[in-house]
């Protein structure tokens, strides 16, 4: 985020004065930045549930003080910010933590005015795109993990890296940093990162003659378990989702594709180049075949899978009509929240559902155990696209420093995610989370298995349109598995070549 106002100046704008003022401020803060940068917070190579527990609560952080050394706490300015905050369907604790953050920010920076808009997950990208077209964007925006690439590629974002706000790049997951890097330049800082886990109903497993405490170890097991559950109980076994133009579909299908050794491009490899198309590889075809086996041959997944998102799986899971599914940590928290608010006869039923819920690692395949590496990143918008044509660099830094700190990246992702800053895993709040959110153990231990979607502007089109289309073509019988995979490969190649 160096000299962010100097890139595309507008005639007549008071740029020179600002650059001069910021240069002085920058000269004063550079030595502080280097002295306050955290050392690498966590040894990722030792990652395991035990290791996470062993480090939780071992370090304390003075967030206001740390950020005060980056931007003085008495700095006077203004920052505008768009993000997806907690809404009505989110658990109460998410609302409480969000409120606490803004109170803490006000206490740390009483002279910075904030203009904050919380926009729902499904609306944020569209609204942001429109606002950019009309030069009415906020100074800072937090987007879903791959949302930023599209805007970085189009020149809407300012360069921004952890060091700009007093942190070290080593304090963030390499995969997360990769997701904010476009053509070698960093355009954002990870705020939170999560992976999903596998959730199942122990009672249904027992009723179907399966070990209620043992989840399917492999994706082949998932197919077999799903069939057994359906054959014995007449209900859906696995919660397949295949809705077109829905992010839920690739988040649940790609882990299986990667597990069988496939991919959309080469995103699952150690050093992806995104040059080779692997959607029609043998691995992808095997994964696609399992979906066809469950949907067409065994009929062991919901009939409505073609139009289902994960939200449509929650009700049958809670009602005991669906045995297992890939679930986001927030879904488990939501079920607990619903159960706690149920009354009378509903309360009894809700408690039974929670009692029977089990959670484990996502099954593995012949190639690996894999999960989508998800999360969000915070970005700074180029001044010319911002309402008013100016970005208050110091106020922006203050906000980002607070938001991505070990403390707040932990608290703000309380029920749904994990801290983007690895130092968050050492905080007392991480310990509290591990003690109170059982599912967290599983999802945090899945993090090293996380594979980010391709860091390309075309990634949303590939993942949300082409991959679900491939699934639909195979599941509806419109194409064979081979044809559907080849069709998807052609579409990706055309898209990468600018032809779609």
């Amino acid at each position: 985020m160096t000299n962010m106002q100097g890139r595309h100046r507008r005639p007549g704008s008071p740029l020179r004065r600002q650059v001069f003022a910021y240069s002085i401020a920058l000269a004063a803060t550079v030595p502080l930045l280097s002295s306050t940068a955290f050392a690498q917070a966590v040894d990722v190579s030792k990652w395991s549930p035990d290791y996470i527990r062993s480090i939780a609560g071992t370090e304390t952080f003075d967030t206001a003080g740390q950020c005060g050394s980056v931007v003085p706490n008495d700095y006077s300015g203004r920052v505008s910010y768009w993000y997806t905050g907690p809404f009505e369907a989110d658990p109460q604790i998410a609302h409480d933590q969000d409120k606490a953050f803004w109170e803490a920010f006000k206490a740390a920076y009483p002279n910075i005015q904030t203009d904050v808009q919380s926009i729902t997950y499904n609306e944020l990208l569209d609204k942001f795109r429109t606002a950019l077209l009309g030069n009415a964007a906020p100074m800072v925006v937090r987007l879903q993990i791959l949302g930023g690439v599209e805007f970085a590629a189009k020149g809407y974002l300012n360069p921004l890296k952890p060091e700009d706000v007093g942190y070290a790049s080593a304090d963030f997951w390499p995969g997360a940093l990769k997701s904010v890097t476009w053509e070698g330049e960093s355009y954002g800082i990870p705020t939170n990162n999560e992976t999903m886990g596998f959730i199942w109903n122990a009672k249904i497993f027992a009723d179907a003659g399966l070990d209620p405490e043992k989840p399917p170890a492999t994706w082949d097991d998932v197919v077999a378990y799903s069939k057994q559950i359906h054959d014995k109980l007449g209900i859906a076994g696995y919660g397949l989702v295949a809705k077109q133009n829905a992010g839920n579909t690739p988040f649940r299908f790609m882990p299986e594709v990667w597990a069988y050794g496939g991919g959309a491009l080469d995103e699952a490899s150690a050093n992806p180049t995104y040059e080779t198309v692997e959607i029609n590889s043998e691995g992808t075809k095997k994964a696609l075949q399992t979906a066809v086996d469950m949907y067409v041959r065994d009929k062991s997944v919901p009939t409505s899978a073609l139009t289902n998102t994960q939200a449509e799986n929650q009700a049958p899971f809670i009602a005991g009509q669906l045995a297992m599914m890939i679930a986001h940590p927030a879904e488990y928290a939501k079920m607990l929240d619903l159960a706690s608010k149920a009354t009378g006869a509903d309360k009894e039923m809700a408690d039974a559902v929670v009692e029977n819920m089990r959670y484990g690692l996502i099954p593995e395949g012949p190639a690996r155990r894999a999960v989508v590496f998800g999360g969000s990143n915070i970005h700074v918008v180029q001044p010319e696209y911002v309402e008013g044509g100016q970005v208050d660099e110091q106020a922006v830094k203050a906000l980002i420093c607070m938001w991505t700190s070990p403390e707040w990246s932990t608290k703000l992702s309380w029920v749904g995610s994990n801290p983007g800053h690895l130092g968050g895993f050492k905080t007392e709040w991480m310990k509290e989370r591990l003690d109170t959110i059982k599912f967290l153990d599983v999802t945090t231990s899945m993090l090293p298995n996380g594979i980010p979607f391709p860091v390309l502007p075309e990634a949303p089109e590939i993942m949300n349109i082409i991959v679900p289309d491939m699934l639909q073509n195979a599941l509806t019988g419109a194409m064979t598995v081979d044809e559907a995979a080849d069709d998807a490969a052609q579409k990706i190649e055309a898209l990468r070549g600018g032809g779609l």
Binding site: W82, E88, D90, T130, L133, A136, Q314, A342, T343, D346
Partner: protein, 289 residues
């Protein structure tokens, strides 16, 4: 003399019964979504996710409504603000649409001037394109006018597609008011404006009311422009505001249904109270005087 009273044997009328069955099915088809919306709004979040569904909640609750209508909590504050915003935007749009459409329609109906037909169809041209085509151009225009994140942007936009319909509806109505009535008034000494005000306006009241209702409902339910032009929560209208019941991984169905039910109340009441005028206005167009 025997007084045998034979009851005439009524033959089974298949067409009549078929019609009744069809209408009953149609009624169920129409009413079910509303009924289900109401029932779901009386459930807890857990009960709303039960399968098979609870046709009537085992523990009915009004908490979703009290939450929405209680200004002391953040949900209530926001909902009531969205409600007020929608009411203000829809009412302002309706009043402005009527103020402009009444004289415009009268002019198209009564006056003969060069380009009259062209202008009349030109007015309708705007409504022949999908709304989404004008989205970004209008957003940029509103941005230049400094109207983004204001209700003015919505009122102005709604007028662009509400006015043509209003003018078109009202013109049809004025066409069916005999011009001789105005001529009689003019002979009695009334000016053209007085004839319009005292003779034509009272006769066209049903048409104006029908036009107002269409305009109000159009503005009340509009989503895509409000979604695009407004990002500030304090400016949002109801169709956009109720999105807050959806989040990334969950939906608050009972809250959403309660909010949707509350949102439909003004429109339904408005419609029920004034439906007579709508029917009359629509029927006017079918008779040539």
């Amino acid at each position: 003399m025997s007084t045998d009273t034979q009851t005439p044997q009524r033959s089974f009328d298949g067409w009549k019964w078929g019609g009744r069955v069809f209408l009953t099915l149609l009624l169920i088809f129409t009413v079910m979504p509303m009924a289900w919306m109401l029932i779901t709004s009386l459930k807890t979040g857990f009960a709303a996710m039960q399968y098979p569904p609870q046709w009537w909640p085992s523990e009915p609750t009004l908490s979703n409504y009290t939450r929405l209508l209680d200004p002391s909590n953040s949900v209530g504050q926001d909902f009531l603000r969205y409600f007020w915003n929608s009411l203000w935007v829809s009412t302002a749009t309706t009043i402005l649409a009527v103020i402009v459409a009444v004289p415009a329609a009268y002019a198209f109906s009564r006056f003969r001037f060069p380009g009259r037909t062209f202008l009349f169809f030109a007015v309708l041209l705007r409504n022949m394109f999908p709304a989404v085509i004008f989205l970004v151009p209008l957003f940029i225009l509103m941005r230049l006018l400094g109207l983004v994140n204001t209700h003015g942007s919505l009122i102005l936009t709604y007028l662009t597609f509400g006015l043509p319909l209003a003018i078109w509806l009202l013109k049809g109505f004025y066409d069916n008011i005999p011009i001789q009535l105005e001529q009689a008034a003019r002979i009695d000494g009334a000016t053209r404006f007085q004839a319009f005000l005292y003779i034509v306006m009272p006769l066209s009241t049903p048409g104006i009311i029908a036009t107002s209702i269409y305009s109000f409902i159009g503005a009340w339910n509009e989503y895509i422009y409000a979604y695009t032009f407004l990002t500030r929560h304090d400016q949002m209208t109801l169709p956009v505001g109720i999105q807050r019941f959806f989040s990334e991984n969950a939906t608050d169905w009972p809250g959403l249904m309660a909010a949707t039910f509350m949102m439909s109340v003004p429109v339904v009441v408005h419609f029920l109270v004034l439906q007579l005028y709508i029917v009359r206005a629509l029927a006017e167009g079918s008779v040539k005087h």
